[in-house]
């Protein structure tokens, strides 16, 4: 293969190549004398450095480029051949949109005779710099946000602890007078058994309402513990039939007053379950009292328990108003009360079913509900007979 004759000598070729490269990569260069004054520059040198125009030949580089103030020692080290180069990356020039990111590099003009002078290369890396700026910006903002989130969480936790403290203190303060009210009401009922019927009725109301208030306070306290994951179960073997019977007896007065029949379907021999008896009572009590509350006069509430190998199923059903799909979806949420519940004269906090669900789940159980408007509701709770060890 024949080689075409060279049109350029090697120095000319290098000069052309340097010009082409400096255009392609936005580079400029300058020759510095050993005394660090500027000897000559590429034609785009003042242009690339924007603010620096006018006569620069013969001036010390530190007057033209602030970047080199303080770097004099390093530049002399290069001239003495003690270090090969000095490099400054991503030097910001200009403001805002017009900002440039420049790289500066200083090497000896002649690697074999470094004391003859220096070559200063300026490279415009704005495109890459902007990209990196965006990345760093995102990363830093993310870190700051994460920090904010953490401290907001800490603050929330602190407020939550404060709320719990307040709640338990006020619950304690409320309970004391309530105990007196209930206690004296039941004492009066005892000693005034021959009083007029109205008087006895009113005393009965005072007593049952103070009990109701006590239960609401317990609900609040339980809820607080549940939310903080502090609820502890005191597990023992419980006679489920007996607990259901106790709930049914406690609800009897209210049920009777509205001619609602409570029917029990309990197996024999009695069912035993490994659970926290107080919590189990609360689960059943809340379900039954709900059923009684939302069932119209002359209605019927049915409580049934049965067992399979592994689990116990408890059902509380009524023939009350029933609920729509949408109502069912929200039923177990905190402070949710159905439209019917809001319209009805019965008072409630919207805590009951939420607490039931939490307590059932604390026992590794499951609760579900089936209902249709006008066709009553069936609440089904399944509980494992034997809780796994880690509960």
């Amino acid at each position: 293969m024949s080689v075409p004759p060279a049109d350029f000598d090697p120095i000319m070729l290098a000069a052309h190549a340097a010009r082409a490269m400096s255009q392609a990569h936005r580079m400029a260069y300058a020759h510095l004398a050993p005394d660090l004054t500027i000897v000559q520059t590429s034609s785009n040198f003042p242009f690339l450095l924007e603010s620096q125009t006018g006569q620069i030949i013969g001036l010390p580089v530190t007057e033209i480029l602030w970047e080199f103030v303080g770097a004099e020692a390093a530049l002399h080290d290069i001239l003495r051949g003690e270090i090969p180069l000095l490099r400054l990356e991503q030097v910001n020039r200009g403001q805002g949109e017009a900002m440039l990111y420049l790289n500066f590099q200083v090497t000896p003009l002649d690697a074999f005779q470094p004391d003859r002078g220096l070559l200063l290369l300026v490279e415009d890396e704005t495109a890459y710099g902007r990209l990196q700026q965006t990345l760093v910006q995102d990363r830093n903002e993310l870190r700051l946000l994460k920090r904010k989130l953490t401290s907001a969480n800490d603050e929330l936790r602190r407020l939550n602890r404060l709320k719990s403290l307040f709640l338990s203190m006020s619950a304690h303060d409320l309970r004391a007078p309530l105990t007196s009210i209930g206690g004296y009401a039941s004492l009066l009922l005892e000693i005034m058994s021959d009083a007029p019927a109205d008087t006895l009725k009113y005393l009965g109301i005072i007593l049952s309402q103070s009990e109701q208030m006590n239960r609401i306070i317990s609900d609040f306290l339980d809820l607080d513990k549940l939310e903080q994951g502090l609820l502890s179960l005191h597990l023992e073997s419980c006679d489920l039939n007996q607990i259901i019977a106790r709930v049914s007896a406690a609800m009897q007065v209210v049920a009777d007053s509205r001619q609602i029949a409570i029917a029990l379907a309990l197996p024999s021999p009695p069912l035993y379950i490994w659970a926290d008896p107080d919590k189990l009572y609360r689960i059943i009590y809340n379900l039954v009292s709900n059923a009684v509350k939302y069932t119209p006069r002359n209605g019927r509430v049915h409580i049934e328990a049965r067992q399979s190998d592994e689990q116990i199923t408890l059902q509380v059903s009524d023939n009350g108003h029933g609920m729509s799909e949408e109502q069912l979806g929200n039923l177990f949420q905190l402070y949710y009360r159905t439209e019917n519940a809001k319209k009805s004269k019965t008072k409630g906090t919207g805590l009951g079913l939420y607490i039931v669900k939490m307590l059932v789940e604390a026992h590794q159980g499951h609760i579900s509900v089936a209902s249709k408007p006008g066709a009553g509701s069936i609440f089904t709770v399944t509980l494992p007979r034997q809780l796994p060890d880690n509960v």
Binding site: W66, G70, A74, E89, N92, N140, E141, R143
Partner: protein, 168 residues
């Protein structure tokens, strides 16, 4: 005519403590609430009038945080002083004081160090008390001041102190 002397000084500190804002306040007397992360270095010049000379401070505002270690020596070398900054609302930014002080001293053994706790205007969010700040700063060989780039509080003072301590 007074002599003019140019000296390189550095701002060091974790990201978003307010280094860029302090320089902007000192050099241009303005403040911007928006955060624009610095990458690389931005050099600003500000003349400070001293009794018998004018000191041109060339202030190197460096990218904060772990980018510093990469950028490293070539940025910090040749600087006669550093303003090392923490954010009074972020405890962990104080933990880095020693790191920056040591980096600076390793490259420039005689460097003047001044320490600033910035964002002093955010009083209710402040988490670092003055006692700790003074103690740490003195142990690292420099004075300490509260600053606020936002209100301008003690920004001038900090740089003036820096300028006064630089021997020419």
């Amino acid at each position: 005519m007074k002599r003019v002397i140019q000296k390189k000084v550095c701002l060091l500190g974790d990201f978003a403590v307010g280094k860029t804002s302090l320089v902007r306040r000192f050099v241009e007397d303005r403040f911007d609430d928006r955060y624009l992360s610095t990458i690389g270095v931005k050099i600003s010049r500000k003349p400070v009038e001293m009794a018998d000379y004018t000191l041109n401070l060339l202030i190197w505002d460096l990218a904060g945080g772990d980018d510093f270690s990469q950028a490293g020596a070539s940025y910090v070398r040749g600087s006669v002083a550093a303003l090392i900054v923490c954010d009074l609302t972020r405890r962990e930014t104080l933990d880095s004081f020693a790191y920056y002080a040591n980096q600076m001293r390793a490259l420039n053994p005689d460097a003047v160090l001044i320490f600033a706790g910035n964002k002093a205007d955010l009083e209710s969010e402040r988490v670092i008390d003055n006692e700790a700040l003074h103690e740490i700063s003195l142990s690292l060989g420099g004075h300490y001041l509260d600053t606020s780039a936002k209100t301008g509080y003690q920004v001038e003072t900090a740089f003036q102190l820096l300028a006064k301590k630089i021997t020419v």
